[in-house]
């Protein structure tokens, strides 16, 4: 009996003929370890969006998408192992979901010709497409984020920051150190006093850092945190009665998991947003019909509508749109990583397109070009309402200070080009 079914399956598999190869979208996830609270919703959102495309549309332009998960536990060595195990299978785009792993993979993926999309993380200067041909970080970068946060504070302070003090509490890693330079430059421009306070991995112990904040009483605290570090910081801030609306996290420090443990203490905490939170979008009706009710949801299916779930979905959406673009450019359905790269470089996200995809007013409009791999660099500010247990978006799109950010990107990209012996390509 068993043999018969097996044989039948084999016949069916052969019988379905020389179908197009599935489009492989690896998901570097972390469902274990101290970063799991943030890794799980992202991975679920990423997988569910592709499941939706497969179930509802039969894939991307009729070619099914395949998501292969590889557990990295936010650890670089495991990330490298995942990359090596997947790179032979024609992966269209690598999304490492870790700045450390991104740094590791930039030279390798460039040599192997596989595009990397570090959405709102990774090496900021990879926004410079002339130097980083295979790396993308649209729709916004860390340095945009730093500048957006400062612009928001300026707005609150009536446009003048001189004499103010701003502290940054950061994950002591490549990720957390990214914004320091930008914040220092902005400090010179606007005249605020800047202090940087590191928190070591994994960030469960932050008493001394918050003691320092309590002693120095900075006017604003910014946070570049990830994993358990976020919730601990929010709790500690509440413990020292720091005014929560003066505490602003980057978009990686603003999910439900980060604020729920502090209960009402977290009320008023702010974070930047790459895209909107919540599930009041037409796409959720489709997700419910084709994915959740069909029992095909990834993970335990409890994270729908969370900030990071939405972000995972957004990452998948951008990848799927880039794949469509690539099919259009190369007029084929059999994509290679190199074609995918061209698609990503020609990606154009308009509000009409987002509406069509069931996510109206969800993310910013942006265009990726040969020279600009960083998108439009827009962000919103969201605030936590502990009573309603929801994030509320409180501003419109805020632009980064390009005057400060762009020269920094150019400088860092040049330094990389020199170090790695890359001649920037001509984009005209």
């Amino acid at each position: 009996m068993k043999l018969k079914t097996l044989a039948l399956a084999a016949v069916l598999a052969v019988g379905s003929g020389p179908a197009l190869a599935d489009l492989l979208f690896p998901s570097f996830s972390y469902r274990t370890g101290p970063y799991a609270p943030n890794g799980i919703p992202f991975a679920d959102g990423y997988a569910d969006y592709f499941t939706l495309l497969n179930e509802r549309d039969g894939g991307i332009n009729g070619v099914r998408a395949k998501v292969v998960e590889c557990e990295t536990a936010y650890n670089t060595e495991k990330g490298v192992e995942c990359y090596e195990s997947l790179k032979g299978d024609n992966p269209l785009v690598i999304q490492p979901l870790s700045t450390g792993i991104t740094y590791q993979l930039i030279p390798k993926a460039t040599a192997d010709g596989i595009p990397v999309h570090s959405m709102g993380y990774g090496r900021t200067s990879s926004a410079n497409g002339k130097v980083f041909e295979w790396v993308f970080n649209y729709p916004a970068t860390y340095w945009d984020g730093a500048s957006i946060a400062i612009n928001h504070i300026m707005e609150l302070e009536g446009g003048n920051l001189s004499g103010k003090s701003i502290a940054l509490i950061y994950h002591n890693s490549a990720y957390g150190k990214e914004p320091i330079r930008t914040l220092e430059e902005l400090g010179k421009k606007h005249g605020y006093k800047f202090t940087a306070i590191p928190v070591d991995h994994p960030g469960q112990e932050q008493k001394s850092q918050w003691l320092q904040i309590r002693r120095d009483r900075p006017d604003y605290v910014l946070m570049w945190g990830w994993g358990v570090m976020n919730s601990v910081a929010v709790q500690e801030a509440a413990n020292i009665r720091f005014p929560m609306d003066h505490f602003i996290g980057i978009w990686w420090s603003g999910s439900e998991n980060d604020v729920l443990p502090a209960a009402t203490g977290a009320n008023g905490y702010k974070a930047l947003a790459l895209a909107n939170p919540g599930k009041e979008y037409p796409i959720y009706a489709d997700l419910k019909k084709y994915v959740y009710d069909a029992g095909k949801a990834a993970g335990d299916g409890t994270h729908a509508g969370e900030v990071l779930y939405n972000r995972g979905m957004y990452a998948a959406l951008l990848a799927a749109e880039a794949a469509k673009k690539a099919m259009e450019i190369h007029n084929t359905k059999d994509l290679t990583p190199a074609m995918m790269r061209d698609g990503m470089e020609a990606l154009q996200i308009t509000s009409a397109l987002m509406t069509e995809l069931g996510l109206p007013d969800f993310g910013p409009e942006f265009t990726v070009t040969c020279a600009n791999h960083g998108g439009s660099g827009l962000g919103k500010v969201q605030q936590w309402d502990a009573e309603a247990k929801t994030w509320k978006v409180i501003t419109d799109w805020i632009a980064a200070d390009r005057e400060v950010v762009d020269p920094l990107i150019a400088e860092d990209a040049d330094a990389y080009a020199k170090e790695a012996g890359i001649t920037p390509r001509d984009c005209n």
């Binding site: 799980i40 536990a73 060595e77 490298v80 030279p107 460039t110 040599a111 490549a174 990720y175 012996g421």
Partner: protein, 358 residues
């Protein structure tokens, strides 16, 4: 039958004292070396290189280094990760400051720098022992990681604190950087491990090694028979740190290519190295290799079995893998407290008598 010494006559003391006194064992060793040097490079691909063989070789070197200190000289150290970081950062600074320096020399010089640093942190061992020394070396671990984070000079003032290895070649073939072919990085690491393991084996059975073991077994007695604790303990720290530093330099430049000190050289690395030495067998060269193989290959093998072959969800597979490896460590330590090397020794004893045990 398969493994015996009948007919294997020795006529000199030298022949009697060689590392592999039994002929079949000698043949086995040389055959394994021949395969490793002459066959594997032709079949290696980048997955086997980056996920299996290169990490295995580098971790073997680390375990070897720690085994010299802990297994042979009896000084417990929890500073391995920190010393690896010294090797890695020394390697990075040398590579970027002197672009023309040959990579082999850079790696050895990184080992030398680490030996100096290790000797410095070995000084407390003259006054404190056992657990207290473990705590002192733990301080070294945290101090070293902190220092590489604190002072931007170490990472050439890069914005992120990441260090990235530039491309370096040996005889025109890249061995670091993304364009290095798999066989080249593998052969480089294998050569380092082969030579250094050879040196370690001969160090530990000579005068210096016996002095280390005398200190390990009872330091006061050793002092009375004329072993100088200062020189012996510090030489153990120096040699051990040299090995660990060399491994750290290879770990950064050849294996990872880019590293960040907190993540790549954290306290977990110190524990991992210590587990390798304990599971492999304290005071055994072979044990260092077996311990490293157990802890490096097991997770990769289990991952491929659970996720690749059985198709389990990644989180379940990871959790089961963590439990299994923990369970296996406990199992091995109960069944054979002297480590995998002792298991191998027992197996050999049995094989010599097989098929007629008495």
């Amino acid at each position: 039958m398969l493994y015996r010494e009948a007919g294997d006559f020795k006529t000199t003391y030298r022949a009697d004292q060689q590392t592999f006194p039994i002929r079949s064992e000698r043949y086995l060793f040389w055959a394994a070396m021949a395969v490793a040097f002459l066959v594997v490079p032709f079949f290696i691909n980048s997955y086997w290189e980056k996920s299996v063989l290169v990490p295995l070789l580098i971790w073997s070197l680390v375990a070897l280094g720690l085994n010299i200190l802990t297994g042979y000289c009896g000084q417990v150290s929890l500073g391995t990760g920190g010393f690896m970081a010294v090797g890695a950062f020394a390697c990075y600074k040398l590579m970027t400051s002197f672009p023309d320096m040959p990579i082999i020399f850079v790696v050895l010089a990184s080992g030398g720098v680490t030996a100096l640093v290790g000797t410095m942190f070995g000084l407390p061992s003259l006054r404190i022992k056992g657990f207290y020394l473990a705590v002192a070396t733990l301080a070294a671990q945290f101090f070293l990681v902190w220092i590489f984070n604190k002072f931007p000079w170490f990472y050439n003032y890069s914005a992120s604190g990441q260090i990235t290895a530039p491309e370096r070649t040996i005889l025109g073939v890249a061995v670091t950087g993304p364009n290095a072919p798999s066989w080249a990085t593998y052969l480089l690491c294998l050569s380092f491990v082969f030579v250094l393991a050879w040196v370690a084996r001969n160090l530990t059975r000579g005068r210096i090694g016996r002095a280390w073991m005398a200190i390990r077994d009872m330091d006061i007695a050793a002092e009375i028979i004329g072993v100088e604790p200062l020189r012996t303990k510090l030489s153990a720290f120096a040699v051990s740190s040299f090995y660990i530093g060399t491994a750290g330099a290879l770990f950064f430049s050849v294996y990872l290519g880019a590293a960040e000190v907190t993540e790549a050289f954290g306290i977990e690395k110190s524990f991992l190295a210590l587990f390798m030495v304990i599971i492999g067998g304290l005071g055994s060269i072979l044990g260092s290799f077996l311990g490293a193989a157990f802890l490096v290959l097991m997770p990769v093998a289990l991952k491929n079995l659970f996720v690749g072959t059985l198709g389990w969800p990644t989180d379940v597979a990871t959790h089961i893998q963590i439990m299994l490896i923990g369970g296996l460590i406990v199992f091995f330590l109960i069944v054979e407290p002297h480590g995998l090397a002792q298991l191998w020794r027992l197996t050999k004893e049995k094989l010599r008598l097989w098929p007629f045990p008495y």
